[in-house]
């Protein structure tokens, strides 16, 4: 059923009137997106909010969002969000004039009210449009998959009541890394209503035992793609599966040596779509396009394949390592949404059998497009493949010093994987 057939409870738009049945709602114009008329579109100039009565009868909300064709390329952009009874269900940010429409799919099961919001910081000509939005009664699929199609979760977790989610992913053979991470996490204090969530690939028994030992929440998942480092990209989609207000995603090959609560606290200091993440210690120089060529074995045309239209994204110079990243639910849903709207991304990640970390380029590309990366200090992701801190254990507490400062997170990535084995065993107890 199209949303324009639902009873509308409230509407407020930033200019003109709410446009329905193909009207833009102002300037005597019609909704056209991708040179097509859209008869069931809702045209709601940002900032706008629309509330519809669903009566708990619908399961999903689906639509595309865009800026109407009459706006010149790049002139404006909008952030779209979908709320079901006050629960943030889906987000699409930085939808720009001239971009292809962005698909949104949201679980609204049981919601009495559906709330659609569009915000902008570029008000002039922000002709934001919900393209033929629908609600369906179809029961949602029991299978959840991440944005890059690495895994499937057959039984989504029962409702977990948490504000802060710390998430990681593990597979068979890496129990020892997980043990180190969970043991080091356990040494530190966390805000109330924090829960550790572990994606356990193929529900490995050894990993499951470790997860249970530390009282973490296990999410068993089936493998859909090659077993390599790209599996960690499941974390890019954690917000679409696990409800929480804030997320901190950690690679299983990290060790926590300091208080990470300030990361959660800092999320609220930045715009809502912000992802906090540290720079890559190896890929220091250049832009996204140069690293695409040199490190990710790609070609310039790949940007167009992945993103559709390419603008200034290629010169983005904040190249990050995704071993540690954090954001609000809004930001994480926006990240998930953009990657799900890169239809060729999964195939591109899998193109070379011997290059297992192309997912990280997709993450970088998403941050560039969304302009949402804010830098964490290197102390929160000290990458051991290119750094050699001084390690010590003082009164039972591990400590790592590099360049005169104390690291909070050590990341045993790449060829740093096997460094300091004895010291790490001590941490894991």
């Amino acid at each position: 059923m199209y949303v324009d057939g639902l009873p509308i409870i409230e509407s407020a738009v930033g200019y003109g009137a709410l446009g329905t049945r193909g009207s833009l709602g102002y300037d005597d114009q019609t909704v056209r997106v991708g040179e097509e008329a859209k008869n069931h579109a809702l045209s709601a100039h940002a900032p706008s909010r629309l509330t519809f009565f669903c009566g708990g009868e619908y399961q999903r909300f689906v639509c595309k969002v865009a800026i109407n064709d009459d706006v010149a390329d790049q002139q404006t952009s909008a952030d779209f969000s979908v709320w079901a009874d006050g629960r943030l269900a889906a987000v699409a940010t930085q939808v720009r004039a001239g971009d292809s429409p962005r698909e949104i799919s949201a679980d609204i099961a049981g919601a009495q009210r559906l709330y659609l919001a569009a915000q902008t910081i570029q008000w002039p000509f922000c002709h934001s449009v919900w393209v033929d939005p629908e609600v369906t009664r179809d029961a949602p699929s029991q299978n959840w998959s991440d944005a890059l199609g690495r895994v499937a979760v057959q039984s989504p977790p029962a409702a977990i009541d948490l504000d802060y989610c710390i998430a990681t992913v593990v597979s068979a053979g890496y129990e020892h890394l997980l043990e180190g991470l969970l043991a080091s996490l356990e040494r530190h204090q966390w805000p109330n209503k924090t829960r550790l969530v572990v994606f356990n690939i193929d529900d490995d028994a050894g990993c499951a035992a470790t997860i249970a030992k530390y009282g973490a929440y296990a999410i068993p998942c089936g493998l859909l793609a090659r077993r390599n480092a790209s599996l960690k990209s499941v974390l890019y989609s954690v917000a679409s599966l696990v409800p929480a207000r804030y997320y901190l995603c950690l690679d299983a090959d990290t060790l926590i040596l300091g208080d990470l609560r300030p990361i959660f606290d800092a999320i609220d200091a930045h715009p809502p779509d912000t992802i906090l993440v540290a720079r890559d210690a190896f890929l220091k120089q250049g832009s996204l396009i140069s690293q695409l060529r040199e490190h990710y074995r790609g070609e310039d045309r790949d940007l167009g394949t992945l993103l559709g239209r390419v603008t200034e994204d290629s010169i983005y110079d904040m190249l990050v390592n995704d071993g540690v990243f954090a954001g609000s639910r809004f930001a994480m849903l926006a990240l998930d949404n953009l990657i799900r709207n890169m239809p060729h991304a999964a195939a591109w990640v899998d193109f070379y059998a011997d290059h297992g970390w192309r997912n990280q380029f997709i993450f970088n590309l998403a941050l560039a497009r969304l302009r949402c990366g804010v830098e964490l200090d290197w102390r929160y992701n000290l990458q051991m493949h290119v750094n050699d801190p001084q390690l010590a254990t003082s009164e039972g507490w591990p400590r790592a010093t590099w360049r005169g400062q104390t690291a909070h997170v050590l990341h045993f990535c790449g060829w740093g994987r096997n460094k300091y084995p004895v010291w790490r065993k001590q941490i894991a107890g």
């Binding site: 910081i121 606290d265 800092a266 930045h270 005169g404």
Partner: protein, 438 residues
Amino acid sequence: MTYLDSLNLTEMQVGFGDLGMHGSLGYEDRSVSVNRQSYKHALSTHPPARLCFQLDDRYASFSCQVALNDDTPAGSSYAHFFVRADGIEVACAPYVVAGGPAREVAAAVAGAHLLELIVETTAWDNCHAVWLDPQVTVTPLGVQRRTLDDPLGRARIDLPSPRRDLQCCIATVVSDGFETWLDDLLASLKIYGDCDDAALLVFGVEAGNGCRRVAEKYNALFVNCQRRANLNSTVKSILYSSGQVLPARKFICLDADMLVLGSLRPIFASIEVAPTASVFACREANGSRFTRLDTAIHTIYGGRPQDFGRLLGNSNGEGAYSLVVNDGIFAGSRTALLAVEGLIRSWTSASAWVDERRDVWWRNQFVFNLALAHSNCGLELDPVFNVQLNSQDVWLERENGRARALWQERPVRVLHFNGRGRNRYADWRPIISGRSRS
């Protein structure tokens, strides 16, 4: 007179190599050399560095010069040098730049048992910081400099007495006639700011007892300043010097024409987890109307493209910097603020440029933007920390006895009554600050 290298060193930490003594740099088999002169009693301390010496109440004064070693390429790095006596900061030489002249440091240390020498930087690579023949004597120091001009020469600041390290400081600047604004700001900060542990610092420019009394009412440290230029809004560049006035680790600087409506704690947390050089601020006009500094210099500040070269000497793409900010609220580590202040101070044309257009009395803000662009150190704060009422509307309401403002349906944390927004929502200001209960 006693060189420090002959005293008992009780603690030592350097950021690279070893502590260099007796003329050695402490790494790379190099020697201390500044302006081609060697120093046999130098202490070479690559930052972050901290040295502790036992004085045992035997000396009255400390002195030396500080610099970056000759082998550091000119302009490629800088360091802040601090001296503490029994935990109290008694001297500070911020933003000592490679290739620049050595800077004098002198401090009274009478009665002190412990002397600490500290070096910090945000330009770690090749930061070969050296203390040139540091020494202590039993001769008391002469008259010490107790004033400081802000980096744009707007005012002369009477420096407060030395004090211990603080964690957090919230600073503002006020002049006569703005007592009520100050009162409202500090009251709202107390009610909503969630920062009771932060030290409050109020700069009063030509301010009388009224401003001082308001500051005292909130246990704020009142720092007297004398104007050195026209008294207008450019005087808020005093806040750029906050890091020289109080030894706090983290600063939030607020315009006096603001009201706080939500917790500022996330900003302090963000300073903690971001790179030390970061300076936090909100976008100008709460939007993306200005996405290049070279557009803003013309549109907002009445400047010309060639002004970049005039201010900087050589410009290096600063015009394309996309984070154009309003400096009504800015924040950062002390290290970051000292770097920004030092950089602005080094631009000798800046003060004249600010005064050139009397009808544009906010040009200091462009200089601040230029410093962020030049250092590439700006990080965007959520717009709700500086909702600028000269261009934005808000919805005000009361909920459970507390005032609340909504902007784009989001709770506002700081309202900024700037420019044409100065007198808007006038009825609400006393309600937010608690002056009126009705």
